[in-house]
Amino acid sequence: MLKPVLIAGAAALALSATGAAFAQDPVALVIAQGGLGDQSYNDLAHQGFMAATEETGVEGRVLESRDVVAQGEQILRRAAESDFGLVVDLEYAHGEVMEAVAPDYPDTEFVVLNQVREGDNITSVLFSEHEGSYLAGALAAMVTTNTDIPGINEDANIGVIGGTRSVGIDKFLVGFVQGAREINPDVQVQVAYANTFGDPATGQQMAEAMFENGADIVYQVAGGTGLGVIQAAEAAGHYAIGVDTDQDGLAPGHVLTSMIKRVDVAVADVVEAYAGGSLEGGQVRNYSLADNGVGLSEMIHTRDLLPADYLARIDELRDGIIAGDIVVVNVIEDGYPDFFQ
């Protein structure tokens, strides 16, 4: 049975302090498509993994494969048969395979990200991307009509580009639109899907089209494709909003903010929990605004462009979500709202 657990940062720290008391089998991290060096999801998870293995003294191994989709079952079985105690798999396509393989190896804990998989020794890690995206949408809706800010026109018109048309991506998009509408119910949000996460040229073209249609801020939820969105924003003198990692520095001054998913924190937490002997399978660990698992970047390049009350309003909304006064639609659990069909 799956039961959600809330994670507190302090708990993770406390666990790591006791980690040395347990004798532990080695742990493995399986890198997803895109590989190390993606300056995004994989690199961030890798950082968290390395930091946690170093801190806890558990032996850690990192696996990369050019053929990671097909090698999935082989990797999971090989690791489990070789007495690895924990396998953290970043590859989304390994979800079903993990569900099939895990029961054969009850002594190994498996961790899957961004999806929920059933199994007594499977830990599922989710992020409340809708909450972070809500704040990004709210900020975009405030900025998009303020012509005092360079590169902003008077139209209440913003855009969002998803990598693929699926609920996993729409979770970001719906949160973004809801946040924008909270600020300005009449805001126009252009929505498009690139159908690929790996093509910056496509992202660039789509963003250019949105800018020509009156948008001045475009949120990218499209991995490598999104790098083209950021390039287009820089070239056109407008703004992009980054995703997953702090992408503000990719085009300083032209990335309004980034919606950060702390994959590093999540991976470090599970490794530390494992090292401390407290990782129990069959659970969903959710990382939300309240745990700092998601949130907006520090905006070091754009903060000075924004009126102070915008940031105050964002903090207010953030507190409202954490307090439960504002409920952000999570399309995976709640289905699609009327304003986004």
Binding site: I75, E96, N114, V167
Partner: protein
């Protein structure tokens, strides 16, 4: 007959040379980065062939390359430089996955066979256009088949992002195929499946076909000297068309076995470039069945061992990629020789 042994020896050397060279390049790299080449290679070797489950993993990884290598070789034999097997593999895989998850009620083995057949059919149909263009209009197939790869991948990704996307999935993937449509596993729990046997059978059929006058011999003759072939009454254009389409059929069948045997569906990242590795396999294997098998096994071993060895040793994936890259580069030397001969032959052909 008398020169059969030296020829086999020469073939063997040609096949071994690129790998020996790659190992040398790799060991220089290892030595520079302060690793012991011998122990590194020993670990790789052990991970590739040390025990039944590791051998099974290597055979699994070699299976798609048997198909793409064979598909490429069939075309090469007829003098057609088909570099579009990747596209057939993609579309064949998607087609088979679709039958596998959508044709509910067909039942068991029949559904599996239908999925395999449909994958092969789609792979073959995909090559009809470049085949026709080459056979009838003499349009260079290198350009058309290469370009068609991008179109095939685009179509597949579009379908898997729209009509065929699994409900609830956050990345581009079809639903899983039904359990009955999956290819049976040979040594559970290893992933080795009936796809490997289908690949072997295809190689055997190819070997027999090569010895048939109608078919293999004509195919070869057209590849060696189209003008002579035409003068002895062989329909060069239909031999060429058949070779390209057959090449697509085998490529599509390879994609189908990959979808039904290993991945269990079609998803983004379905092929890391099996079609292109297949070109190297065909070139190194000199288009011969045994050569293709050996070439596929070596690349398969590098893939499977190169991945899981990282669990035990500090061997970066980069090393495996350097080894693969070096082998492929040397295979291109063979391709250049081949292309020169082809140009010379086509120059004299009317």
């Amino acid at each position: 007959m008398s020169d059969a042994v030296p020829r086999a020896l020469e073939d063997g050397l040609r096949l071994a040379m690129p790998f020996v060279a790659a190992l040398l390049v790799g060991s220089i790299l290892l030595a520079i980065t302060g690793r012991d080449p011998f122990s590194t290679y020993a670990e790789l070797f052990n991970e590739a062939l040390g025990g039944q489950s590791r051998i099974a993993a290597t055979l699994t990884a070699a299976t798609p390359l048997i198909f793409t290598g064979l598909a490429t070789a069939i075309a090469f034999r007829a003098g057609v430089f088909n570099v579009g097997v990747e596209g057939s593999f993609y579309l064949g895989g998607l087609a088979a996955a679709w039958v596998g998850f959508a044709w509910i009620g067909l039942g068991g083995t029949l559904q599996m066979l239908a999925a395999l057949g449909f994958g092969a059919l789609v792979g073959g149909l995909w090559m009809l256009l470049p085949g026709w263009l080459r056979a009838r209009m003499d349009v260079d197939e290198v350009v058309t088949t290469l370009m068609l790869n991008f179109i095939a991948i685009g179509i597949a990704l579009w379908l898997v992002n729209g009509p065929l996307l699994a409900a609830g999935s956050a990345n581009s993937a079809t639903p899983m195929v039904l359990a009955e449509a999956r290819l049976p596993r040979l040594i559970p729990p290893s992933t080795l499946n009936a796809g490997f046997l289908i690949g072997l059978a295809a190689l055997v059929v190819y070997g027999v076909w090569l010895r048939l006058r109608v078919g293999g011999f004509e195919n070869r003759l057209v590849g060696l000297n189209p003008r002579f072939a035409r003068s002895v009454g062989i329909s060069v254009s239909s031999v060429i068309l058949l070779a390209i389409v057959l090449s697509g059929v085998i490529g599509g069948l390879g994609g189908a076995t990959h979808a039904l045997g290993v991945v269990g569906r079609f998803s983004e990242g379905f092929s890391p470039g099996y079609g292109f590795t297949g070109i190297a396999v065909a070139l190194l294997g000199r288009n011969r069945p045994v050569g293709i098998l050996i070439g596929a096994l070596i690349f398969g071993a590098l893939t499977s061992a190169g991945t899981t060895v990282q669990l035990f040793a500090d061997i970066p994936l980069d090393l495996v990629q350097v080894l693969e890259g070096t082998v492929m580069m040397l295979a291109v030397v063979e391709a250049v020789r081949w292309a020169r001969r082809r140009r010379a032959v086509r120059a004299v052909a009317p």
